[in-house]
Subunit: 125 residues, 3 copies
């Protein structure tokens, strides 16, 4: 089994709804987004997937969230913008062009700080 | 599959028994403890588990080891305080209140330095 | 399930062949190599595997690549020296002495930068 990984970051505001103490106040994070692709074997050119292409897709997604209030982003507004929900959202945006490419799984990790992350891992097949 | 992760650190002394060279002298580390929970799906509030609660439990455990000699901690004294053994010990302390909460697995990683860790992963079901 | 992890780094040059843009120019990276062993249970001395021994093997391998052009290393020359290929190469060099030691799996992660890695995971049994 092989993996490739790329990482980027974005700065965004959000607040939680519910019994989450100070996290219910509008605040923000320097989010770090880590994206991992898994595949059983490598292609003829020695790659699992073109890391440059993956990076471009990940940077585009991060740009769309950068300096935004996550609670106003279509697809996130109306949900509780926990790190888990942001991981779900980013997974859904990255997955479609990665399907039908012989890839096994996609993992998206959303770090709110160097001490906290949430991640979603799901099959691409 | 989803994950949440929290991290903290503690400074402690220890020494190994056996054929481990300089590690048999009393020394110490700035340990980093990483704790990961895994669960198949999210709850209605968009969380896998309340990260604030998890953090509090992890910080309490770290505090109980901070500025201590691990070879004198009940539950660790009498065993070889390898990073693996510390991961086992911390896993056992964190797991009980996490059972019966629909969580799938708990992982505890104990870093002795940025170059070395040991981890234990086990099912919570 | 338990894991132990060690990390080191080496500085090397390489270039890719194919449709990889600026990566086809000779360039280099401060590679970070992370090596993980997995095993179901611990031995009687409280270790999964002697981390000192693992570190020595990993450092030897890193030294053999340090300040080299990867495209001239026997076993890598003639292939496309992607991070995936370097992970494959390093896995093959580390695995032989680790077999028949009750270990379950070996993972080698090759970071080209803090933003990009490729990894290979395979069974040692």
């Amino acid at each position: 089994m092989y993996e490739v990984y790329v990482a980027t970051q974005f700065e965004a505001a959000h607040r939680l709804v519910g019994d989450f103490g100070p996290a219910t106040r509008t605040h923000g994070h320097t989010y770090r987004m880590e994206v991992i692709l898994r595949r059983e074997s490598l292609g003829d050119d020695g790659t699992l997937y073109d890391i440059g292409l993956l990076r471009a897709a990940v940077e585009d997604l991060a740009s769309s969230l950068h300096y935004r209030d996550l609670d106003e982003i279509p697809g996130l507004s109306g949900t509780n913008t926990t790190a888990e929900a942001v991981a779900y959202y980013c997974w859904e945006r990255l997955a479609p062009p990665l399907r039908d490419q012989d890839l096994d799984a996609l993992i998206v990790r959303i770090w709110e700080s160097p001490q906290v992350y949430a991640a979603r891992e799901d099959s691409l097949t």
